[in-house]
Amino acid sequence: MRPFKYSTINDIKSATNRLATNDNARYLAGGTNILDLMKEDVERPDELVDISRLKLAAVQPITTGANKGGISIGALGKNTETANHPLIRQAYPLLSQAILAGASAQIRNMATNGGNLNQRTRCPYFYEVSMPCNKREPGSGCGALKGINRMHAIFGWSEKCVAVHPSDMCIALVALDAIVNVQGPNGQQRSIPFEDYHRLPGDNPEKDNTLNPGELITSIHIPRNNFADRSYYLKVRDRASYAFALVSVGAALEMNGSNILTARIALGGVAHKPWRAKEAENFLAGKPATVENFRRAAEMEMKNAMTLEHNDFKVELGTRAIVRALSQAMKGGKHEELPA
């Protein structure tokens, strides 16, 4: 591994200052992603600023402001603690399910919420310095575009990059209209709607998100909602656990009698950012919650897909996954167990 400086800080200001003075410094939270990338020589910071001592781990109700009644999740809370927090389990089960669908118990115990948002793609070309990758090395070409792209995007990609964002947690967060709170080097704070937080690759795939240099995620807010009884996170993957999604769906429904008042559908494993299926959502608003409508909504969304050589299956799989996630949400959103 390249020699690098390691510094610990105890307050947000010192953290953002370190990054403001050194372009080549990075935050170190749980380390489950950035350390792996450094070992593979993909990330090459010359300084790691360990932010794990910051008091930003709490999960707590929001008591003031526009999102009063919602919940605030600290950037440095561990994925495990967040998923298992009673308030999250009761009021935001979609988030809990999504987090628990990701990685392994050991990794979730280390991984932080902020780190989960900023984890980098799992594209195998990105991970191997001898292969071309515009995200790792702008201008070197996209290895996946004409390569092995079974795991890659079907929405919103560019010729420069066809990678997907790997997070499960973020699929729930985008579905729930979360807000990312950040603080910059001069102490200025911003709140970024989750949908605007991650970006599409366009001509700059090296940029995963809309953070400005040095900005630190402090917390994530989720507005109060009425989805707790009808939400479901479905992850389709090559093995039952510890695999990234082929396609995943975060679905949430609020009913008005037998009709859908609001539907939220977000897709993972399909785009460079957590993907909101807005067309499907709009179609379902006001309609009866029938499998037939779910299917029409899903097809409406998936018809816009642009597939690559090895991932055309994601269209059919995505369609089915949307239908199934919505159906499971209607049934109360519990995971099924096979009979013994």
Binding site: M131, R239, A240, S241, F313, R320, V323, E336
Partner: protein, 711 residues
């Protein structure tokens, strides 16, 4: 003295279990060698071409670096010394992506790895031959004479006139062994003498190939490998890393540790090659097989040939008058393939046993009944009688235990809510062999306490070798297992067979048993007495008032076995649940019924069997190493991409052993289980998926996309 309790056949705990769970068992890189330097290999980033220049100046200046070794300064080695796969830094030619092209030695691993990235290499690149789909047409008959065509009867005529038949191709991908312990070595020179701590399935083989490659006498090389963190064939023949560690240690004049990373494993220690297996199978309407042709096309390396014997199961499983086994191979710019658990049989049985299922369906026959109808009386290949054969027993016992009668004959008709449920069966086999092994027994008595030390250069991959040796010795000597010290995994000990090809247990246990007989005979002779009942060695030590006694035996297989066809057999049963919406498959229940002669320890044996079953399930559903043909590099380089099954993928696993007494195979009747445990597994799962869904997937692994593409 009361008759000692027999321990052979008892499921006693592993004698090395305590060491393992407390972390005291030492694997290759765990030895506390002083003054260690650390080495990191760097690899070719092109798959074909020539190294024009290597610039190591910056790397040499990096902190902590002791030496950078490339073909420019490496000592001359013998490339034909017995190490597999090349990469010995003796040439500029590049045969595959990831070929070793140099080693950095530094004070720490991190420093060595950093410096390895400062090395600049200039290549002349050639277009790599890495697209099997295109090159497959160029494949030709292998040089290996074991892979010459075998033909019986007239396949083409019989096939063309057959009423019930099948002509299909089954595909299996490249797989990697990926043992938990990646290949790693510590090399220590003391003058001319070299000690190599290195996971070695064949201890004496590692010793001779290291010595031959280094051009030094074998007596100067000692291999130490009491515990191995898995190998599955990849630590049978050794690879360049073994000797590169030795030359690094020589060049820096210090002990050196070299451990490959998981990512480096994909092109350092072999692989299971991709196979296209064309099967032609035909039967009469009564269900008697008339044709079985099994033709395999595969790839090998540019710098070596290896072809796994996919047709082996087809040689022995069924009675069939017209048969053909054939191979074709094409060299590619990939690392040399090698033996991988159930070599040829794991993959070959997927093709054969899937085809049997397909034809049974055509014939509207139960697949178990179909197999039993075609059970051979003798080995169809050579006419030899089987020393023992349990296929029918395995199938019948398994059917009963598994509840086979609940299977629906018509596929796709067993729905449970969102799931489609299916049952599958597949049989399998693996040869049973004993190999030459020597063993030394030392007895020591203090008062009433008698201890035995058993020494032989056997190896323990985690399978339980220590334990079965202790049990065999305990019974043979009349000493409790707790008083037996098993010393293995050291080439300084009497030479022994390897833990490969399921010969380990039979070879080690028979050698130790022979040594027990010999030491007892010698003690009787020494006593000069006549005994009405043959006494145990332990009793003789006491009655003759001996403090120490020792003997050594050089055990050999009996030539009698050559007159018979000796094999382990099994039958595998799978119940799968396929999610109709997502195509995700769960193997809900799996049962392996095995006839493998005497089971020395049912507990460690069960672990062996379920380990093979789990890999077989992985082979069926998840495991695949994918090459990007443009670069010749793998895109699946870590466990995030190379999917071995996780706990949640595996349902209930059950194991049944058929009681079998086979003194012909070898004296103790031990047949071996490590390899057969994976044979037939993937086919059982694939057949169950067909039964559940009506979809026949002929290319592994059966991932959700393949199922939803067809539903």
């Amino acid at each position: 003295m009361s008759e000692p309790i027999k321990t052979v056949g008892q499921g006693i705990n592993r004698v090395d279990g305590f060491l393992k769970v407390t972390g005291a068992a030492r694997y290759a890189t765990d030895y506390p060698v002083k003054n260690l330097a650390h080495a990191v290999i760097f690899k070719s980033t092109v798959a074909a071409g020539e190294i024009l220049a290597i610039d190591t100046i910056e790397a040499e200046k990096a902190p902590g670096v002791l030496s950078v070794i490339t073909h420019q300064n490496a000592p001359k080695l013998n490339p034909n010394g017995g190490l597999r796969g090349g990469g010995l830094l003796q040439e500029t030619k590049i045969h595959f992506h990831g070929q070793h092209i140099g080693v950095v030695v530094a004070e720490t691993f991190e420093q060595a790895r950093y410096a390895s990235r400062l090395v600049k290499v200039e290549y002349s690149k050639q277009t790599p031959r890495t697209d099997f789909e295109k090159l497959e047409k160029e494949a030709s008959t292998p040089k290996d004479k074991d892979k010459a065509d075998i033909v019986r009867g007239d396949v083409d005529t019989a096939f063309s006139s057959a009423e019930f038949k099948l002509d299909v191709v089954y595909e299996t991908p490249i797989e990697h062994h990926h043992p938990m312990e990646p290949h790693s070595t510590i090399a220590v020179w003391e003058g001319e003498k070299l000690t190599l701590y290195n996971g070695s399935q064949i201890v004496n083989g590692a010793q001779s190939s290291a010595a031959n490659t280094l051009n030094i006498p074998a007596a100067n090389v000692r291999i130490v490998t009491p515990h191995i963190g898995g190998g599955f064939g990849s630590k049978g023949g050794q690879w360049a890393n073994l000797v590169l560690t030795a030359i690094a240690a020589k060049m820096v004049n210090r002990p050196v540790k070299l451990a490959l990373t998981r990512q480096q494993m994909v092109n350092s220690a072999g692989l299971r090659q991709r196979n296209l297996q064309r099967i032609r199978l035909a039967a009469t309407k009564e269900g008697k097989l008339t044709v079985l042709a099994h033709e395999t096309t595969t790839h090998c390396a540019m710098n070596g040939e290896f072809v796994e014997p996919c047709g082996d199961c087809s040689k022995v499983m069924y009675e069939v008058p017209n048969a053909k086994i054939a191979y074709k191979v094409v060299p590619m710019n990939l690392i040399l393939p090698t033996y991988t658990r159930g070599p040829g049989k794991a993959t070959g049985s997927f093709a054969l046993e899937s085809a049997m299922d397909e034809l049974a369906h055509q014939l509207k026959l139960d697949p178990i009944e179909f197999r039993i109808k075609n059970e051979p009386a003798r080995d169809p290949l050579n006419g030899k009688p089987f020393s023992s054969r349990t296929t029918v027993q395995c199938l019948q016992a398994g059917a009963k235990a598994f509840g086979w009668e609940k299977r629906k004959m018509e596929p796709g008709t067993n729905q449970h809510g969102d799931y489609m449920v299916g049952y599958g069966v597949a049989a399998g086999t693996y040869p049973a062999r004993q190999r030459d092994s020597s063993a030394m027994i030392r007895l020591n008595r203090t008062g009433k306490d008698i201890k035995a030390t058993i020494e032989l250069a056997a190896s323990d991959l985690g399978t339980g070798t220590h334990t079965i040796i202790a049990q065999t010795a305990a019974d043979g000597l009349g000493i409790p297992v707790s008083n037996i010290d098993v010393r293995i995994g050291d080439s300084a000990l009497p030479p022994a067979a390897g833990s490969v090809g399921s010969v380990g247990a039979a070879s080690f246990a028979n050698a130790v048993n022979d040594a027990c007989i010999k030491i007892t005979d010698e003690l009787i002779l020494k006593s000069g007495k006549q005994f009405p009942v043959r006494p145990m060695a332990s009793a003789l030590m006491a009655s003759e008032n001996l403090k120490e006694f020792q003997t050594r035996v050089d055990a050999k297989p009996s030539p009698e076995a050559d007159n018979y066809s000796c094999h382990s057999f099994n039958a595998n049963f799978a119940e799968v649940w396929v999610n109709a919406a997502t195509g995700m498959v769960k193997v809900h229940r799996f049962l392996a019924v095995t006839g493998a002669g005497k089971i020395l320890n049912p507990k460690t044996a069960r672990s062996q069997i379920i380990g093979g079953n789990i890999w077989g399930i992985g082979m069926a559903l998840t495991e695949e190493s994918v090459v990007d043909p443009r670069y010749g590099n793998f895109v699946t380089r870590s466990f995030a991409d190379y999917h071995i099954p996780a706990n949640l993928d595996i349902g209930t696993l059950d194991t049944i052993f058929i009681d079998e007494d086979d003194p012909i195979t070898n004296k103790l009747g031990v047949k071996g289980i490590g390899e057969v445990s994976i044979v037939g597994v993937a086919a059982a799962v694939a057949n169950a998926i067909y039964n559940a869904t009506g979809i026949r997937v002929r290319d592994l692994p059966i991932t959700p996309d393949k199922l939803i593409r067809k539903v």
